[in-house]
């Protein structure tokens, strides 16, 4: 009866050991700069389109929904405020995190999983390379750099989507909308919250992808299983961590 619990604790332990090794390797030679840039391209540039599209429609739909609620109180002019706060604090980081989790946690898990089942990971170790140094650390660094940047882009595109709705359907002026967007943010806590969350999510996405990839067994079927597990675990963890981080910020700032 205790077996699943023991297995869970053992898996969690393996996950933290792998994460610890990946972080330690940032400060150890050899450094694989080329791999970091390749991964930045795959994770960052590759996710730009999907993050922009979801950000745009996310911002737009939120403006539409919120304006309806605000109209009840005669506060339609505050649409920019609501869109801005929700995007920067919650929607931007979480939506971007989920998109990148769906796209890259799965990509990382399937790539590393395929390498595992075709013995390429063993070959790498046999040929004098630490797979954590060569495969995991570059993915961790690349995701940690790119996810906050993608979140910033997603936030702005979402604000723009909200602006189009505000202008076309709600009849708000550009000046009114953008002023309320700007003034809604509390400096520096909102930008810090909006950037710290994607940083934490980046660690989760990259490490969950690598962890499930590297522990793949059972041929191509195993690769599929690892990929699914990675996406599910990364998605769930993003929501759990988001709540925890939000609680910390709410307690700290009272905002």
């Amino acid at each position: 009866m205790l077996a699943p619990l023991i297995q869970f604790v053992a898996s969690a332990n393996d996950f933290f050991v792998l994460t610890g090794r990946a972080i330690r390797n940032i400060f150890r030679t050899p450094h694989y700069g080329d791999d970091v840039f390749t991964q930045m391209d795959v994770i960052g540039v590759g996710s730009l389109a999907i993050v922009s599209i979801t950000g745009f429609f996310g911002g737009a739909v939120m403006a539409l929904q919120m304006s309806k609620a605000l109209a009840t109180y005669g506060q339609v002019s505050k649409t920019g405020t609501i869109v801005s706060l929700t995007l920067v604090r919650e929607f931007g980081p979480v939506l971007t995190g989920l998109m990148v989790a769906g796209r890259n946690a799965s990509g990382i898990a399937s790539e590393l999983g395929s390498m595992k089942v075709t013995e390429q990971i063993d070959a790498m170790r046999a040929l004098g390379t630490d797979p954590v140094q060569k495969l995991v650390t570059p993915r961790l660094i690349a995701t940690c750099v790119m996810l906050p940047l993608l979140t910033i882009i997603s936030d702005f595109i979402g604000m723009f989507g909200g602006f189009l709705i505000a202008m076309v359907f709600l009849g708000l002026s550009a000046k009114l909308y953008w002023t309320s967007v700007w003034q809604a943010l509390i400096w520096p806590t909102d930008p810090i919250q909006g950037l710290l969350k994607p940083l934490v999510f980046a660690v989760v996405i990259s490490m969950v992808g690598c962890y499930f990839g590297l522990r793949t067994t059972g041929g191509t079927q195993g690769v599929g299983r690892s990929t699914t597990q990675a996406v599910v675990a990364a998605t769930v963890l993003i929501f759990i961590l988001d709540l925890m981080l939000t609680k910390i910020f709410v307690s700290q700032t009272g905002a």
Binding site: T118, D122, A126, L127, G128, D130
Partner: protein
């Protein structure tokens, strides 16, 4: 024998490896000496691949010691193992070439990534070309592994295994999944490699024919082809080992292997016919 025996290259001392409660290797002991060829026979799941991976330090034994070149692998950290691994070449069962790298980059990989091998940058290219020439794959440098046939991938992986001139090479089922003609070509390459560079060879296989070729043929460098080795010019001593469910059930020469009445062992020998 009165003459001094050659130095030990690889020694398994009561090695046991367990996976999920069952023994993949159970109390295996043997010693391979310099210049020797060892053919390891066994059915699927008998622990052949685990034995090779343990010899490289990729799998750590649960009990016993593994000594390579006199050094205890079981007491080393992963980083310390890199130095030992640079002296051991390994051909993985499915070749294990890196998909994202070209054949040239794959073959150059050990030269560029093994710290203990100080290969000047300007020597990498000629050595890769030479290694690919050796395995008769010249002209495939720019291709990716997915563009090559199974036999060609196997040959490229052999080139990657020996490019650093390691004194010990481990081959994991080099002919698995290949047609008889390609299999013969691959074994001929192994013999050529062994006889020209005098490497100690451990070959895992489930095909007795492969072992028979290794034991009874030598590479004639003047004529550039294999020829039967008479007792006088047999260039390397071949020892056969048979694994059964993780246990070493036979170790000895070909004559003894063929004379064995054990049903499991004789099953392999019968394949010859």
């Amino acid at each position: 024998m009165a003459d001094a025996s050659p130095p030990s290259v690889l020694c398994f001392d009561h090695v046991t490896v367990r996976f999920e409660g069952s023994d993949a290797l159970a109390d295996v002991s043997f010693e391979a000496f310099e210049g020797e060829s060892r053919v390891i026979l066994g059915a699927a799941g008998s622990g052949k691949t685990v034995l090779l991976k343990t010899a490289l330090g990729l799998v750590r034994p649960d009990a016993g010691r593994v000594l390579a070149f006199g050094r205890d692998l079981t007491a080393m950290t992963e980083r310390e193992l890199f130095e030992i691994r640079s002296r051991i070449g390994m051909l993985f069962q499915e070749s294990a070439l890196f998909d994202s790298l070209t054949i040239e980059e794959n073959v150059a990989y050990p030269l560029q990534n093994q710290k203990s091998i100080q290969c000047p940058e300007n020597e990498v290219q000629p050595r890769v070309d030479q290694a690919l020439e050796f395995v008769e794959l010249a002209g495939t440098q720019e291709k990716f592994p997915s563009e090559l046939s199974g036999g060609m991938r196997r040959r490229a992986a052999i080139a990657r295994a020996f490019i650093t001139n390691p004194p010990l090479i481990l081959y994991d089922s080099p002919t698995a999944g290949l047609d008889p003609i390609t299999s013969h070509t691959i074994i001929a390459l192994l013999i050529k490699e062994r006889d020209l560079r005098h490497t100690t060879t451990l070959m895992v296989t489930h095909r007795y024919q492969d072992g028979n070729l290794i034991a009874n043929f030598r590479y004639n460098s003047e004529q550039g082809r294999l020829e039967p080795a008479s007792n006088g010019n047999r260039s390397a001593r071949t020892v056969f080992m048979v694994l059964h469910e993780g246990r070493l059930v036979f170790e000895g020469g070909q004559d003894r292997l063929e004379a064995s009445t054990d049903p499991y062992i004789s099953k392999f020998v019968k394949q010859r016919v």
